[in-house]
Every structure is written in structure tokens, then in C-alpha cells.
């Protein structure tokens, strides 16, 4: 993966992202290695995303690298009217690798075409967020011991959730069975279902969260946002139907783990946090290892 940008989860083959997961395991055992001492990583956040930025910066800092960058467009030259092309071409002179988050879709792909250093997409609008997908795959593999033949439920906003879309597409490589739980208005788009059908895999759709809990291995929760509904009454009707409560997990499989990309608002009750099924905070920690693995791999160190 040396010198190759990661813009979309489809940019890497199945073998390549499994390789990243293997390297991430090494970093989990030993996350503080001074292997990035001679490297400068730019984190360009054209829109704020504290969690993702801190995760990348923690990953770099723990490996001894230096971070430069900005945390939102208001504190950068973008405010003066500089084009993305010029910002990227300039920052590429100052760094060995650029991590970027941008509100426009396709911005990271464009940046990767004009940059002289590799780009890691840390989210381009509603399009892609491949490192989230990699850390989710890592978390699934770590908790289940494998990625193949699992029953995975995605819950909440399946229409607009880019994380759900890239996870589903990535998991079609592993013969998983998909269970989609959402209100009617927020069902998984047919463009994503097409990937499942192409692989002849099975998927099922539900509106009741309780239905899937007894037989799935992974329960991937996402937030439902009020502004996604054309009719606010519809939101009021469904807003409590997709909240996971500790008492709902009584008859789940022993290996079930609950994942969430965070931030959580109220879709997982805090009474789940201390249960053995809760995995979302460890999931966030895994993000650091996966990002370390990815950066080390792109910089040609691992």
C-alpha cells in the first residue's frame, strides 16, 4: 500500500485491508513505537470532527510523529477563498501524508489526484469514511474471531449513514448475512443492496429491533436524526423504536457485540455500557491501532 491514497473502501482489495487489520493487531500489542519520528502528518479538517481528528493525532503522536494542520475551515486559508487544489498542493510540500475531512463529496478523490503525497480520506461529505470501515471490520473480527459467515444487523438510519453503506459493501466480501432494521423512510438505498445481490448474499429488512436480537452476532447501532424526516410527525412516531435498552438483550447470543460509530445521543441506553455485549468504546480505541497500521503501511514502514 506504499504511497497509495485511501479515499474509498473500494480502493483496496480484500487482501489489502486484511493486511491492514493484521498490522493493526501488532500495534494493539505495542502501540507506542517510535517509528514515525522522521515524519510529518498533516490533518486538514475543513469541517470539525473532533473524534476522528483526535484518533488520527493520537495514532501519530504515539508513534513519535509530528502533526500539523487545522481543525476547521474558519481557521485556514479556505476562508480567504483559496481553492482546495491550492491548499492540498501547498500542504503536500510540508508533509509526508495528508489526512483530510471535507464537507464536499469527492473532495478526497480530487485531492489525491493533485497531491504529491498520499491522502487518507477521513470523511468526504456523505460519501466515504474508509478508516471507520476498517476499524469496524477490525472490531468485528476481534470480537467474533472471524469475518466470514456472520449475521450482522444494522440499525437506525440506513439511508443516509455512509458508515453503514461502506461496511455493508466491505462485508459482502465475507459471505455475511445482513439484517437491516430501520423505519420505512430510512431504508438501505437500492444502490447498496445491489452489491449484496451481486454476491448472491441474503439480506432481510425489519422495522422492529427486537426481532433480530436473538440471532445476530453483531448489532451495529446508528443515530436517527430528526432532520432526515420530511414529516416531523413520522420522526416522533419512530424515535423511541430504535433505542437499545439493557433489558432487550436478555435472549441474545452469547457472542453478540453491540457496535456504534459514536457519537451516541440516546440510541443506546447507558444501562448497556457495562454489559459484556457493549463494545463501542473499545471500538473507538481500535480506531487508533487501525489508523496507525494504515499510516505505517502507506509510509512504507510496515
Amino acid at each position: 500500500m506504499k504511497n497509495r491514497s485511501l479515499v474509498s473502501i473500494n480502493d483496496y482489495s480484500k487482501e489489502e485491508y486484511l493486511k491492514i487489520l493484521d498490522i493493526a493487531e501488532e500495534f494493539e500489542k505495542n502501540p507506542k513505537q517510535k517509528i514515525l519520528e522522521n515524519f510529518v502528518i498533516a490533518t486538514l479538517f475543513f469541517e470539525p470532527s473532533t473524534r476522528t481528528r483526535l484518533s488520527f493525532e493520537s495514532a501519530v503522536n504515539q508513534l513519535g510523529g509530528k502533526v500539523i494542520g487545522f481543525t476547521d475551515a474558519a481557521s485556514s486559508s479556505v476562508k480567504k477563498g483559496e481553492s482546495l487544489r491550492d491548499t492540498i498542493k501547498t500542504v503536500a510540500n510540508y508533509s509526508d501524508l495528508i489526512v483530510m475531512r471535507h464537507p464536499l463529496e469527492g473532495s478526497a478523490r480530487f485531492a489525491s489526484e493533485v497531491s504529491s503525497v498520499p491522502i487518507i480520506n477521513a470523511g468526504d461529505g456523505a460519501n466515504q469514511h474508509p478508516t471507520q470501515c476498517l476499524l469496524d471490520l477490525y472490531s468485528i473480527r476481534k470480537t467474533q474471531g472471524k469475518l466470514d459467515n456472520l449475521h450482522i444487523a444494522f440499525v437506525g438510519d440506513l439511508k443516509y449513514g455512509r458508515t453503514v453503506h461502506s461496511n455493508v459493501i466491505a462485508l459482502t466480501n465475507f459471505n455475511c448475512t445482513f439484517h437491516f432494521v430501520s423505519p420505512g423512510e430510512l431504508k438501505l438505498p437500492s444502490a447498496v443492496k445491489r452489491h449484496i445481490k451481486e454476491r448472491n448474499l441474503e439480506y432481510y429488512q425489519y422495522t422492529d429491533l427486537n426481532e433480530v436480537i436473538p440471532f445476530v452476532d453483531i448489532l451495529y447501532m446508528t443515530r436517527i436524526q430528526r432532520e432526515r424526516f420530511s414529516d416531523p410527525v413520522e420522526y416522533e412516531k419512530v424515535k423511541n423504536a430504535y433505542i437499545l435498552n439493557g433489558n432487550m438483550l436478555g435472549n441474545c447470543k452469547p457472542n453478540l457485540k453491540v457496535l456504534h460509530p459514536l457519537p451516541r445521543v440516546n440510541e443506546i441506553n447507558e444501562n448497556v455500557d457495562d454489559m459484556k455485549e457493549a463494545y463501542y468504546f473499545q471500538q473507538a480505541r481500535n480506531g487508533v491501532y487501525v489508523r496507525q497500521a494504515l499510516m505505517a503501511s502507506i509510509l512504507g514502514i510496515k
Binding site: 481553492s83 464536499l104 463529496e105 480530487f110 461529505g125 456523505a126
Partner: protein, 155 residues
């Protein structure tokens, strides 16, 4: 045979050198003219629409004197008029007659439908891969959203 010959003469014989774009869907004739900038072209151009066609019922046709289309222009024709046939004429003779081919990649001349796409905000030429040649669906190389023929806006 006689009627076929007459028909061919009616369509092409007037052209000494140039290209005939035949079998254009009638409703797309003006789109093809606009897209190829033929409206600002100085050469002699004849066009017809809603002509009888054995194969399609109705068809459109455009004849351009002393013009031989480049690959990029032919790709544009294929996107708007995938049924079209190009007939190249030199010295009143048909040199080449072939259907247009829908390309794998479409560059620069169609706008991405996604208002949040980088190509609609910065000076980035659009680029699509053709993911469905029959329904004419294009996937944006940048934002990965699909633009279909009913939403085509030409740049």
C-alpha cells in the same frame, strides 16, 4: 432494392464530403446539435426530425458538410443518441458506416447531479464511468453518486 436505393439517395447523396448522423432518436436531434456546438458551426448543415424509419418508427438525421467527427465528439453523440449511425462520405461515396459505441468513461461534458459534489464547487472537470449502458447510468468518479440520462445537463 429499388426503393432502398432511392431512400439512400434521398438521405445521403446531396453530401459530397462530410458526415451523416443517422438514426438519432427524434426527440434528441436538437440536443445533439447543441452538444456538438453545431449551432455555431459555419459549414452547411441539414437536419431532419420525425422522419420515417423502418427500424425505429421515427428518427432524426443530421448532415454536416466537410466535417469528420473526432472520437470525443462521437462519444458525446453516443451518450445522447446511443442508436445513432455515423456515415462518413467522401466524393459522394460512403467510406464508413457504423453505429456509435457507448464509451466506458464519460469526461467533461455532463454535470454531476449531486449538488454536494466537488465538481460543482471547484474547477474540477467531471468524469464518470458508465455503469449501465442501456439505462445510461453514469457513476461520478469523485462523489460516486449516479447521474441518469433523465438528469443529464451538458456543460
Amino acid at each position: 432494392m429499388e426503393s432502398k436505393k432511392t431512400r439512400k439517395e434521398l438521405i445521403v447523396s446531396a453530401l459530397e464530403n462530410g458526415t451523416v448522423i443517422d438514426h438519432i432518436p427524434s426527440k434528441n436531434v436538437f440536443q445533439v446539435i447543441k452538444m456538438l456546438n453545431l449551432d455555431s458551426f459555419d459549414n452547411q448543415i441539414l437536419f431532419g426530425t420525425n422522419l420515417d424509419s423502418r427500424r425505429y418508427g421515427k428518427k432524426g438525421i443530421i448532415k454536416v458538410k466537410n466535417k469528420f467527427f473526432e472520437k470525443e465528439e462521437i462519444n458525446k453523440i453516443a451518450i445522447v443518441a446511443p442508436t445513432a449511425t455515423l456515415i462518413v462520405i467522401k466524393d459522394f461515396e460512403i467510406i464508413e458506416k457504423k453505429p456509435v459505441e457507448v464509451p466506458e468513461v464519460v469526461d467533461k461534458f455532463i454535470k454531476c447531479i449531486n449538488p454536494n459534489c466537488i465538481t460543482n464547487h471547484e474547477n474540477v472537470p467531471t468524469k464518470f464511468s458508465v455503469i449501465d449502458k442501456d439505462a445510461m447510468k453514469l457513476q461520478c468518479h469523485y462523489c460516486e453518486k449516479t447521474t441518469s440520462k433523465e438528469n443529464f445537463i451538458f456543460i
